[in-house]
Amino acid sequence: MSQIATQEGQQGMIVKQTGPLALIQDAGRFGVGHLGVTQGGAADWISFRWANWLLGNALNSTALEIVMGGGLSFETESEVRLALTGADLDAQLDGKPLAPNASFKLLPGQRLIFRQPRQGLRAYLAFPGGLNAPEVLGSRACTAREQIGGLYEDGKPLKVGDRLTWKGTAPAVRRITEGQGPRMPVSGCRLPIVLGSQIASFSGSALFQAFNQPWTVDNRADRMGVRLTGPALYGSLTGIISEGIPLGAVQVPPDGQPIVLMNDRQTIGGYPRLGALTPMACATLAQCLPGTEVWLTPVSASQAQEDYRQQLTVWHSR
């Protein structure tokens, strides 16, 4: 057990049962791409920020990213206020449903359980002041493939018996007003994409198809990349000399089926790209269950930046 987790006098929360995947995440690891180290971080960064906002935490405080639920459950050793946002994973507190996008009190002996996705894919659970976890290269983000981050610095997801501790008390208790807060995507949603990179190498019909019909989110989807299925897109290139990959890059391997590269993507890669989804579109895609239909809708870099800055103001203007 790590030193932090065994600090005396600290109260914790114990993992009683695990589900498919629960990871310690923060905003991600930056300035490390040149080392071959991936960005990581909360895939739906918008829901992640809302969770911290609800407790008055710094917005990038370390929290849990819970995928699917699947019976993941916790028990606490002392009373604690937590905040839950993002996907509706049919979370229950001692059998009573928990309202999404709100903070709640968890008492010793009570059981918090995440059952199954009803809307969205990833829920975020924030803790007072943020979770304790060792910092690696400036971040606590957990990336399994790189064996970096997490409770034990090995990139492993939560397992039964893990004891989570947090930094203090919630600096504030906030509420999300009606109509605000994270929205889970529905089929037919739009994913803004900034065009660029090798877009000129694709055929005219490929470009028409890329932006004028819906794509289906495949079940081959994880924190590294999300595959979209639809008509095959072809162009004059099947591979390129490996180059740096930005978040949301939409690469098209030789089978013509695009892959959107997400937080745990490799740092460089060699397939031609249409461009990159905006960070907001990445957050949306991170909540799409397999089978969801999505549209790639081109947006200029400057418009995307304006929308992004607008999004950032929601957490500061209140």
Binding site: F30, G31, V32, G33, H34, L35, G36, V37, Q39, V136, L137, R145, E146, Q147, I148, V194, L195, G196, S197, I241, S242, E243, G244, I245, P246, L247, G248, A249, Q266, T267, I268, G269, R273, G275, A276, T278, P279, A301, S302, A304, Q305, Y308, R309, L312
Partner: protein, 242 residues
């Protein structure tokens, strides 16, 4: 957008994402690229300072990820232009030369016989060939501390495995086409594995100080099983799972 430097390499700058631009210096892989890539890396780091979120150099390009809360796309483009006008290549002799001891053995390097056979060489001659070159580090990527190196002599160049291994042991030294590399940690991979080294690439990268940097040179040196084991090397044979 194109701009031309004093020594006339044509630099192109393309949009890569909402807040990222790709600087394209060359169209082909060549060791001589590195002097320019390293120079551009330094110039861009200096120019962007705290506005820089990430800078990922590769064989022919640099990906510039900037903070769009501090700068817009047009300003970033202009800044790159200014930073790279009059760019001059660095002296690549300043790159470090790394001596990497490798235990070449079929138990930890299962493709040793295959690569030798393809090249029409004995296993010993293949090992000698692989050791007989200072390989240039072109790029870091794939995994923390993983360096893409080349160029491997055409005689021993071997395409990737048709079916990648699910588990390649940490320290595995491999060849893919005309490139060679070391796996820093246990990971899936499709390179032809020739042997194993005990150099802790991952630990260096995890501390933010990678052993290899682009432009460095790497020379492999064959050691015996006894030497490898005495250094604490893991002699467990490569686990093969279908």
């Amino acid at each position: 957008m194109k701009l031309t430097t004093e020594k006339s390499i044509a630099i192109r700058i393309e949009t890569a994402a909402m807040d990222a631009l790709m600087v394209r210096l060359f169209n082909t892989i060549d060791e001589s690229n590195m002097a320019w890539v390293i120079a551009a890396d330094q110039a861009l780091r200096d120019a962007f300072g705290a506005v820089l979120i990430d800078l990922v150099p590769s064989y022919t390009t640099l990906l510039v990820h900037y903070d769009c809360q501090q700068m817009n796309h047009a300003e970033a483009l202009q800044l790159i232009n200014r930073a790279l006008s009059g760019l001059a290549p660095v002296d690549t002799q300043r790159g470090q030369l790394h001596d990497i001891p490798v235990w070449y053995d079929e138990s930890v390097g299962p493709e040793l016989p295959l690569v030798a056979k393809r090249a029409g060489l004995s296993v010993d001659a293949l090992i000698e060939q692989h050791c007989n070159h200072d390989y240039c580090v072109f790029a870091l990527g794939f995994a923390p501390g993983y360096g893409f190196m080349g160029l491997v002599d055409e005689a021993i160049a071997t395409p990737r495995l048709k079916t990648p291994r699910r588990k390649v042991a940490a320290g595995s030294v491999g060849i893919a086409d005309r490139q060679t590399a070391i796996y820093p940690l246990l990971s899936p991979g499709g390179w032809n594995i020739l042997g194993r080294t005990n150099v802790p690439l991952f630990e260096h990268a995890k501390r933010g100080r990678p052993l290899f940097r682009p432009g460095d040179k790497v020379r492999f040196r064959a050691i015996s099983r006894a030497e490898f084991a005495a250094d604490g090397g893991d002699t467990t044979p490569m686990e093969e799972r279908p």
